[in-house]
């Protein structure tokens, strides 16, 4: 989880210093979901993500330097600069394609699950946000997955802002009259569970079990992971309130901003998990600091790699139209 957060913090700092262009999204506050899902997966499984894909790809084992190079549009990026952050995919890690349309990846995941079922191996995981439930593609993908009984696991990361907190000018998340988001997949007769996005252990246990059920041919499953949005991603362009995450915040330290402090206490999977490890004596502060130093160095290295990499040659623009 630490690696993902440090990667995303690098992105924000690099974007603020205008090192790369284009809009982008960060995964801070949802790291536990990607890690717990991907830990339950094997090489023959498929992962479908959206525009908020950095965490999923890192958890799936993608190299941070090639990812950062792609975000910079450099030749050494996974797609040689053609996908950028919105469509980042890593074929050899079972992340064949990433759609930037809301709900665009849902039918893809159902199709891949169909192929897995026919082949007798592999499951297909689809990460999507709560807004996907407003798109027709969601229903068609769900109904197909249920009718064909394919090994598909739909992971809905519901980071919608609770209505009370919706201030003017911010982008409202999903607008569903459903009392509970989970009512919708349930009405499609698909086994649905709700998991707390801040509890890394609960996430790990749930996804270990659910991936097993799906793999054994139990048909599709829908999981709503409830996460509260990280204060830094309210504005259109993400920012670091009070700078990068500090290990001290897991101990006695506190950030100045009250909303961030509250969020760390109640919703941040990383802070809560670190506190749990400390309480259980599973790790010492110095071990944590060493781990953190390695993560920071790795991600700083990725940034340097991206900055130093060359841009693709102009004629590359004409390649890869046809396989």
């Amino acid at each position: 989880m630490l690696r993902i957060r440090r990667f995303e913090e690098q992105c924000i700092q690099l974007a603020e210093s205008k090192q790369f262009s284009g809009h982008y999204h960060v995964y801070i506050g949802q790291e536990a979901t990607a890690v717990s899902v991907c830990n339950a997966l094997g090489p023959e499984d498929f992962v479908f993500s959206t525009w908020r894909n950095h965490g999923h790809l890192l958890a799936r084992g993608a190299a941070p330097d090639r990812m950062m190079a792609e975000i910079f549009g450099k030749a050494t990026g996974y797609a040689g600069g053609k996908s950028g952050t919105l469509h980042m995919a890593v074929g050899e890690l079972g992340v064949p394609a990433t759609s930037a349309l809301v709900g665009g990846n849902l039918p893809l995941a159902t199709g891949a699950a169909l192929a897995c079922k026919r082949r007798g191996s592999g499951v297909s995981v689809c990460f999507h946000g709560d807004a996907a439930l407003e798109e027709g593609a969601f229903y068609e993908a769900m109904i197909l997955a249920a009718v064909w009984k394919v090994p598909a696991l739909f992971v809905c990361e519901n980071n919608s802002i609770p209505p009370a907190q919706r201030k003017r000018g911010q982008f409202t998340s999903s607008t569903l009259p459903a009392a509970q988001l989970a009512d919708v997949p349930q009405s499609l007769q698909i086994r649905t569970e709700i998991v707390d996005g801040a509890d890394a252990d609960q996430l790990a246990e749930s996804f270990e079990r659910l991936v097993g059920e799906v793999r054994r041919g139990g048909g599709p499953r829908f999981v709503e992971v409830r996460c509260t949005r990280w204060p830094g991603s309210f504005p259109l362009w993400p920012e670091l309130p009070d700078g990068p995450w500090q290990i001290a915040w897991a101990f006695d330290g506190k950030p100045d901003r009250a909303d961030l402090a509250l969020w760390l206490e109640q919703s941040d999977p990383l802070t809560l998990y670190v506190r749990k490890l400390i309480a259980a004596g599973a790790v010492t502060r110095s071990q944590l600091e060493a781990m953190d130093a390695r993560a920071k160095e790795e991600m700083a290295g990725a940034a340097r790699y991206a900055i130093d990499s060359p841009f693709p040659a102009p004629d590359q623009a004409y390649r890869h139209v046809w396989a």
Binding site: A79, G80, P96, A97, L101, P107, L108, G111, A112, G122
Partner: protein, 326 residues
């Protein structure tokens, strides 16, 4: 031996399913409402029942599932039934399938084939009669296959299902099912992207594809018998890739080009070919004419539909106009 267009389609599906376990069929209404042609598919649907996915009516979901299965190594044929229904699936056909290979910098390819029974069928009215080549023809990354004869109906579909590495839209046509053609089993397959000269000629080139091929051939007969005009018929076979060289060579030889197409007049396939001819500025080119549907939705009533239909007679009139012009 002679085979019909419908037999070609059924044969291609049956042989592809037999040849490669990764081929599968999403949806199975392939032949639309033509019961005779449907009967050809019944044995195939029986023999490969486990590889035919019965589906609800959700074109967007089906197309997306086809793309997803292709990403995971399968080679699906997705039946989007009537041509006009492809619009519901446009986000998956044109915005996902076509872009993925490029967006991933070549990491992933999407060998999916979308079967679409497009074109004016008679009485279909505005929502069952679309010819969609013009819109699909503008999408980089998508192959658009428009067979005009039974041998190509078979060859192009089998190529798409077994060999193509890119997403294709295979445009079948409800009025072509009974067209027949000589078919030699081991005949070397004319590569995709090459047009077929169906009839040699000297005075005017009739450029056609899909349903326009038999009508252009009929027009050529009339021009020869009644007007002594020798017409060459060029069957494009595919809109993407478009064999511009063969079109240019034929137009240079005859000096006149008449493009017959079932898409609407403005911004259609015929416009692209006419512009290509205009752009190359062939010294010998004396006249170019487009013979297409006017810019109107397809009306229901028979006399109105007949008025706008591109018939062999209209192709003849276009050719005469071109010959008279220069």
């Amino acid at each position: 031996m002679k085979i019909s267009f419908a037999e070609g389609v059924a044969k291609a599906i049956q042989e592809s399913l037999a040849a490669n376990p990764r081929v599968l069929l999403i949806g199975g209404g392939i032949m639309g409402l033509n019961t005779a042609a449907r009967a050809l598919l019944d044995p195939v649907l029986r023999d490969f029942a486990s590889r035919i996915m019965v589906t609800p009516i959700s074109e967007l979901g089906l197309a997306g599932a086809g793309v997803g299965a292709a990403l995971a190594g399968d080679r699906p044929l997705v039946d989007l039934s009537t041509g006009s229904f492809i619009f519901q699936a446009f986000a998956q056909v044109a915005n996902e399938a076509a872009n993925i290979h490029y967006m991933t910098g070549g990491q992933t390819s999407v060998p999916v084939t979308f079967y679409s029974l497009a074109g004016r069928r008679g009485g279909g009215a505005a929502q069952h009669s679309h010819a969609t080549q013009a819109l699909l023809g503008q999408v980089p990354g998508l192959q658009v296959l428009t067979p005009g004869g039974a041998e190509d109906a078979y060859g192009l579909l089998k190529w798409a299902l077994l060999e193509s590495r890119n997403p294709s839209v295979y445009l079948s046509h409800p009025l072509l099912f009974d067209e027949t053609a000589e078919w030699i089993p081991h005949d070397p397959f004319l590569p995709v992207g090459k047009a077929r000269i169906r009839r040699e000629g000297r005075d005017v080139s009739l450029i056609a594809s899909s349903i326009m091929v038999p009508r252009a051939l009929a027009a050529a007969e009339t021009l020869q018998r009644q007007h002594g005009i020798s017409a060459e018929v060029v069957d494009l076979r595919t809109i993407i890739p478009l064999d511009r060289d063969t079109v240019l060579q034929s137009a240079a030889k005859t000096g006149r080009a008449v493009i017959a197409d079932e898409c609407h007049h403005s911004y259609g396939v015929a416009a692209e070919i006419a512009a290509t001819l205009a752009e190359k500025g062939l010294a010998s080119l004396k006249a170019v004419r487009r013979v297409t549907m006017p810019d109107v939705p397809i009306p229901f009533s028979a006399p109105l539909e007949a008025e706008i239909t591109v018939t062999a007679e209209k192709i003849v009139a276009g050719a005469l106009d071109a010959v008279r012009a220069a």
